[in-house]
Every structure is written in C-alpha cells, then in structure tokens.
C-alpha cells in the first residue's frame, strides 16, 4: 500500500505553505507537491481604481519587498502615461531597488538560512533559528541585523519610510535627493561592503560541509531567466530578457520584457493557488526555468562592479557550464549584496543624481502598460490595462516566486527521494525538505498576493490517498 507524508507548515519562509509527499506501493517516494493554499486577489480588486493608485496599492502585496512592486508598478504606469522618466529619477529608483535587495537578501541569508548553515541541518530545531545563531556566532547575527538595517535605512532616507513608501510614482519619483541624504547613504557603503565581504568569506568556509545538500537541493537541469543590460551584464531595473539553458547556452536573448506573453505561459494546478509559469516554446512542464540571484548570475556576463566581479569568477567555478544547485542561491545572494553596495555608490556619484528634474507629467496616453524589473527573488511583471478614463480594467502579475514554482516542486521531490525512506520523516529530513524551498527564498504572500496565516504542513499519503503521517509546525 502506498502512503503519503504531509509537512505543514514549512518554516522560515515568507508566507506559509504545505508539502505533500506521495509514496508508492513499495514505500518509495513517487511524487511531491509544494502547495500554497492562500489567495488575496490583488489582480481582481484593483479593477475600477485609477491607474495612478497602483504603485501604492500593489506595494501592499508585501511587507518585505514593497519596493519591487512599487518599481514594476510605476514602470507599467510610465507606459500608460507614455513618458520616459528623467535620468535622475531612474537612477534614484535603481538605488532604492538595490537598497531593498540588500535588506531582503540579508533577511533571507541571516534570519532564515544561516541557522541551517551555522548550526547544521540536523541540529536541535528549538535552537535552529536566528536566536541560536546569536548564541553561537553573535558577530554573524549582528552583521545580519546591521545589513538589513542599512538597506531599510537607505529606503527610509530616500522615501521617508522603510515599509510601503510612496516616493516612487508614475513618471518618476516625487522628491529629489538632497546632498545631505546622498552623503548619509554614501557614508554607509564602506561598512556595508566590509560586513558583506566578511559574510562572504565565512560562507566560503562553511558551504563545503554541505556537499550532499548541494548535490540534492534542486540540482537538476533547467532554464534560467532574467534581465540583462545592453552588454549582457547584471541588471535589476530595466534591460532585456535573456534565457539560458542548462548547458550555459543562451537560447533566447534581447527579448522585449513587454512581450512576455509570447514566451511565458502560466499553467494552473488544482492543488495550489500558486501558478506555474513556463517557457512557452518548450511547453508545460518541459519549459521549467529558474529566476532570482542564481539565475541572474548564471545569465549575466559580468556584474560590472569590481568586488562582485571577482566573486563572480569564484562563483562560476561551482558548476561546469552553469551553477545548477539551488543551494547556491545563498552564495549568489551574498554576491548581490556586495554588488548592491558597489552599484549604489556608483549611482550616487553620478553627476546628475541631485538634479531637480525627477518626474515626467502627462495624462494617460496609452491603454496598456507593462512594467518588468528584477525583485530580490527574480523577475517581476506587472501588466495593466485601463479604460479611457485611466481606470483599471485588468491586471496580470507574475511574481518572482511564481516563476520558480516548477523548480521548487521538483526540488522537493529530489530531496524527498534522496532522504525519505519509510513512512516517518525524521526531523533532519523535514528540515532539508523545508531548506530546499528556503533556498529560493519564496515569498508566498507576494506570489499569491495572500492574506492571513497559513502554516506549513507535510502530508505523507499512501497509494490510496490515505494520510499515514502528518507534520504540522
């Protein structure tokens, strides 16, 4: 008789999910499902609202990465206005996007992932959290708090508040950067770089202990997708879409983000509210791809900043053609934190950064707008349609976490097959199943636009669908 394991909730992720593992008649793992059972419906309830409200409204999707939604939403609104925003405004948006990436990556690495990395996958779950990190390595914990604080502080200095700021608006930003604020942010950069490099060195010293996890944490061939700049370099705000295959070959390049519907399809499965985007030319589900820090560093020719580029050289050595283990999302996040500080400095030193021309004004000139940017977790797409009065009639959002849905499900299956034997899940195995999801740093609240609490549950089901084990956190 086959059986089923249920893990509920998955811990230390943004939002809440459930995992069901299907066993075959011999007790082997047959299939695994990562289920997101929450929905909020931003795409529907924005209908009828004026388009210019969208950046503020859509930012409410998430308390961790509201800036990503602000950026993508404002870019969609720029298109509806039919304007090209001033250069200083674009740079300021870029700075805030990078500041948010720093704080979000710090949250993921230090608060959510570092307990596994420092204390071990099989350590006491009561201690395996940021407070356990604090006891064993206070410097690491302090560094995490400080990096996150820096990212949030930069956002607050730019926009007036750190969560749900409304400074980014259709047409640009609503307040110019002052000399004082520029200098405040610049003064943070050396400390930020120092901490980020110290953490990178620490991680380089410990990740070798996780060889089996590296081999089994969603380590399989997929496509990788993300934005790159005109020269194929790392890009987080604008640029064109590049898609690379598992052999490192670019299979599609310079794709206009606005044409995303031509190459991205969205499948729906009955067991989850989270959709399954896929690369259309390969079909569902052969068109599995990954986005986010790992994908961005795989597809980019270079970071374009001095220290991050040196780190990227070491990163490339982790794989043959591409770095394919999702365990290395952690590694990629640290490089992107370093890049973020370097790039913010470069942008702040631009001659026109203090320019007072920061916003383009217009009435709606188009009935449709598509904004695409790179959020911490990957490519973010906001697509709006409005009527002649500028009222929203339709919206489609493809959130970074959603792009990774196929890969997360397949990753859970890979870990389950490698670690589960029998009808009970040892705690260390449960943690590894969670950790493979955690590597993607999914934001379920964003990707389903969810509300309320939905803790994680793992169900172990037999061949007849009967639950034989259930773990609820």
């Amino acid at each position: 008789m086959s059986k089923q394991i249920i893990i509920d909730p998955v811990t230390r992720i943004e939002g809440h999910g459930k995992i069901t593992i299907q066993l075959d008649e011999d007790g082997g793992v047959k299939d695994a499902f990562f289920q997101v059972t929450q929905i909020r419906g931003f795409e529907k309830f924005c209908e009828g609202r004026p388009f210019y409200e969208m950046p503020s409204l859509m930012a409410r999707i998430c308390g961790i990465c509201p800036v990503s939604h602000l950026v993508a939403s404002a870019k969609a609104c720029d298109q509806i206005l039919g304007v090209r925003i001033p250069s200083a405004a674009e740079k300021l948006r870029r700075i805030m996007n990078l500041a948010q990436m720093i704080q979000s990556h710090a949250l993921s690495f230090f608060y959510l992932a570092s307990p596994d990395l420092l204390l071990g996958m099989d350590s006491d779950p009561a201690e395996r959290n940021i407070f356990g990190v604090l006891k064993k390595n206070p410097t690491l914990a302090r560094d995490g708090v400080r990096l996150r604080q820096m990212g949030q502080q930069m956002i607050e200095w730019l926009a007036g508040k750190r969560i749900h700021p409304s400074w980014i608006v259709p047409g640009g930003v609503n307040e110019r950067l002052t000399v004082e604020k520029r200098d405040q942010i610049l003064s943070m950069i050396p400390e930020g770089l120092f901490i980020a490099q110290r953490t990178y060195d620490w991680f380089r010293g410990v990740f070798g202990k996780f060889q089996k996890e590296i081999q089994t944490f969603a380590n399989f061939p997929t496509l990788f997708m993300g934005l790159v700049d005109d020269d194929g370099g790392l890009e987080h705000y604008d640029g064109k879409i590049r898609i690379m295959d598992a052999s490192g070959s670019t299979i599609a390049d310079k794709l206009e983000p606005e044409n995303y519907q031509q190459f991205i399809g969205e499948a729906v499965e009955p067991f989850t509210y989270l959709k399954f985007p896929y690369y259309k030319p390969f079909g569902y589900d052969d068109g599995i791809y990954r986005v986010g820090p790992l994908a961005r560093l795989n597809i980019a020719k270079r970071c374009g900043t001095e220290i991050a580029d040196k780190m990227l050289e070491d990163f490339r050595k982790l794989g043959q053609d591409v770095v394919s283990s999702s365990f290395h999302y952690h590694y990629a996040r640290l490089i992107e934190i370093v890049y973020g500080f370097e790039k913010i400095k470069e942008l702040l030193e631009s001659p026109d950064i203090l320019n007072s021309r920061i916003r383009a004004y217009a009435e709606p000139n188009r009935l449709e707008g598509i904004g695409v940017s790179e959020a911490p977790r990957g490519t973010l797409i906001h697509h709006y349609k409005v009527d002649d009065n500028g009222l929203m009639v339709w919206a489609n959002l493809i959130i970074a976490t959603g792009h990774n849905n196929l890969a997360m499900n397949r990753g859970v299956l890979q870990v389950a097959k490698n670690y589960i034997s029998g009808t009970k899940i040892p705690e260390g195995v449960l943690n590894r199943i969670e950790a493979v999801i955690r590597a993607y740093d999914p934001c379920l609240s964003c990707s389903t636009h969810a509300a309320g609490q939905m803790p994680l549950q793992v169900d172990l089901r037999n061949h007849d669908g009967e639950i034989v084990d259930r773990i609820v956190r």
Partner: protein, 159 residues
C-alpha cells in the same frame, strides 16, 4: 547621539491601532531635543535592537484591545527570558530588549505605555471614544520623558 528613544507601535491605517503613531507625532511636535529619537513602526523587528541598545531609556507606546486593566497601563519592561523562536518579523518590547542585550550586551531602562483602543476598523482616525484616553496618555508620556530628561541632564525645549 540619542539617549532616549520613543517608539510608537501599531498600524496607522487601522483606527485606534494607530494610537502609538499618533501619540509619538504629538510628543515630537511638543518636545525638541537632539538626544531624543522619535520613531514609529508597524511591528518591532530585530533591526531596532541596535538603536535601543545605545539608549539610556526607551519608551514604547501602543494600543491594546479591550481589557479589564486600567485605562492607561504602565509597565516597566525587562528582557524576555525565552526568545520567541520563529518570530523574527515581530517582537514585543521584552523580546527586543532580550535581543538587544544578547547582541550588544546592554539595554536601557524601558517603559511601555498602552491605552485601550475601541475601534480597529480601516481608517486613519482615532475613534472619538478613545481620544480622551489618548490625551491622558500624552500627559503621562510627557511626565515620564520630563523625568528622564532631567535625570540624564538633557537639554530640551518644550514647543
């Protein structure tokens, strides 16, 4: 460097949940000193721990749901004995003090003032029923801050 930190906690879009923010704004309007930092948050997160550790005194102001306790509740806060294991997005004042002490080795004296809210519906206004209580809360908050300003010999200006 600030030696007193005043933190208003709550969601200003949910009626009386915004009492902490409202009170901090009123205090900031009436009291000026380079050594007091007024700040507001929806929830206390670990990032506050460093600032708090640098302070000599911390005043937390929040609303609370209906209870049998006094209209204005004043509590001296001591660090929590046990960390809330999974709550890195949300700490209470005792939790953030414990975090500050563990990370930075020092904590300020701390007081939490709460007042009972009546309406937590959507809206940016404090309910009429609660306004009077908030005035009393302000009076008590000013008394506490005055005591600490004098104790720490901090120069300040009442606006």
């Amino acid at each position: 460097m600030q030696r007193i930190i005043v933190i208003g906690i709550g969601n200003p879009l949910r009626g009386d949940d915004g009492i902490g923010w409202y009170t901090v704004d009123r205090l900031e309007e009436s009291l000026e000193s380079r050594e007091i930092e007024f700040t507001k948050c929806v929830e206390l997160t670990p990032e506050f721990s460093e600032k708090i550790s640098r302070s000599k005194f911390a005043l937390f102001i929040d609303s609370r749901v209906e209870s049998q306790e006094a209209e204005i509740k004043e509590e001296h806060i001591v660090p929590a004995e046990v960390f809330p294991a999974l709550e890195t997005h949300r700490l209470d004042p005792a939790g953030i003090l414990a975090f500050s002490r563990s990370l930075y080795g020092k904590i300020p004296e701390a007081i939490m003032l709460t007042v009972e809210g009546k309406s937590f519906e959507y809206g940016e206004e404090i309910s009429l029923e609660t306004e009077q209580r908030v005035e009393s809360l302000l009076v008590r908050a000013r008394e506490i801050l005055n005591d600490w300003l004098q104790k720490l010999r901090i120069e300040y200006c009442i606006c």
